[in-house]
């Protein structure tokens, strides 16, 4: 255990201001630690990893880690990630998004990234609120809960991120929480080793903007809540429907290894290249054979033109 914190310091950018800007007890900090440990355990070098984030408290995490990082725009982290992975499939791409980031403004990018099965590891830091901008409700704020913009309780239903990812076609889907750092390390590790679009929902207490409006005395009470209401997904599935109320399943919901978009793309490229090469070889062979059918045209000089004509004759 002794190396854990030292290890984290090794991956932090010490020219940034520490302690980091997150509030006391903010779950985002725990995810940052988990991410670093998981990358380290996967044996990846700093240069092989790209961390891409959107805007929000969650988006700030990319600033603190010494990988290739891009702090992009609100809701669009996945678009940058898609481009990077397609351009250089060797890179391990990790996307950090808030719930507002990933599901409100960026909701369409999320479902399409999952459908495309682009080889990206997306982590959604779900604090059920817009943390950075002052506590407006998000599309994951639970019904009847309070926020700055829902002073009488949220009227709308919230998204279930796991269900959404499963329905959209992701390869790997997991849920974990800030109270479960070991599980978080484990699922990030599994995602990093899995091809295609891997999605992890990470429940992250935000007492500042969410907890204090929803009867949590302090951040600790929110962690206590995560501790008591969570259950391993396999146990959860064995529960009777009637006993599931208020229980939050955590763990790995889906894991499959369908080939990623960039792999399929590489396959098509290879096929086309092969066809092109075959064609070129055939043309070469045809050229090598003396053309018997026609007398070569009276010399006009340009060799290239002759070749073209040859081809035309064959076609």
């Amino acid at each position: 255990m002794s190396e854990v914190t030292q290890l984290i310091h090794h991956y932090l950018r010490h020219n940034k201001k520490f302690p980091h800007m997150l509030c006391a007890g903010c779950g985002h900090g725990i995810l940052l630690g988990s991410l670093i440990r998981s990358v380290h355990n996967a044996g990846l070098s700093k240069d092989e990893v790209v961390v891409i984030s959107g805007i929000g408290c969650s988006g700030r995490l990319a600033v603190y880690v010494d990988f290739n990082t891009i702090h992009t725009t609100h809701g669009r982290a996945l678009t940058f990630a898609t481009g990077i992975k397609m351009a250089n499939p060797e890179l391990v791409v990790i996307v950090l998004m808030g719930d507002g980031d990933a599901l409100s403004i960026g909701g369409n990018h999320l479902i399409h990234a999952a459908r495309r099965n682009i080889g990206v590891n997306a982590i959604i830091l779900n604090n059920e609120i817009y943390g950075m901008t002052g506590g407006q409700c998000s599309s994951t704020t639970p019904q009847d809960c309070f926020s700055m913009t829902t002073p009488f309780g949220q009227l709308e239903k919230s998204f279930d991120i796991v269900d959404m990812a499963l329905a959209s076609g992701a390869n790997f889907v997991a849920r974990t929480t800030a109270f479960h750092a070991q599980l978080t390390d484990e699922v990030i590790g599994q995602a990093l080793a899995n091809p295609g679009f891997n999605l992890i929902e990470f429940f992250s207490p935000c007492h500042t903007q969410y907890g204090r409006k929803n009867k949590y005395k302090n951040a600790i009470a929110m962690y206590q809540d995560l501790k008591s209401k969570t259950m391993d997904v396999d146990k959860y599935k064995a529960l009777e429907e009637s006993k599931r109320e208020g229980v939050m399943p955590i763990g790995v919901f889906l894991k499959r290894d369908d080939p990623a978009l960039e792999t399929r793309y590489a396959g098509v490229r290879a096929k086309l290249q092969e066809a092109k090469q075959k064609k070129a070889e055939a043309a070469k062979a045809a050229q090598a054979k003396p053309a018997k059918a026609k007398e070569p045209k009276p010399d006009k000089g340009a060799k290239g033109k002759e070749t073209k004509q040859d081809k035309g004759d064959k076609a």
Binding site: M1, V4, T5, P19, C23, G27, G29, G33, S34
Partner: protein, 86 residues
């Protein structure tokens, strides 16, 4: 994570990085920490009781806790936090 015997672990808090959230004190199974109400930070009060379960180090959101085995080199030159400071 393996060691579970008492008295084998040093528990250190870097007060500069601790934000006083209280998670370590609330969840340590052995009550190793106490919150200092004046400083608004955690402090180690029961180091001998620590069973090296690792919870505090993994869950401190500010990387302010370091667990290390006793009687090893805890020299500050080995300590990246100390190095990081100007």
């Amino acid at each position: 994570m393996a060691a579970t015997k008492k008295g084998l672990t040093t528990v250190a808090i870097y007060p500069d990085w601790c934000k006083g959230c209280g998670l370590c004190a609330a969840f340590c199974p052995k009550k190793v920490f106490e919150m200092d109400p004046v400083a608004g930070k955690a402090r180690v009060v029961n180091e001998e009781e620590c069973v090296n379960c690792g919870f505090c180090e993994l869950h401190c959101p500010d990387f302010a806790i370091v667990l290390s085995p006793k009687n090893t080199d805890t020299d500050s030159s080995n300590n990246p936090t100390a190095k990081a400071k100007p």
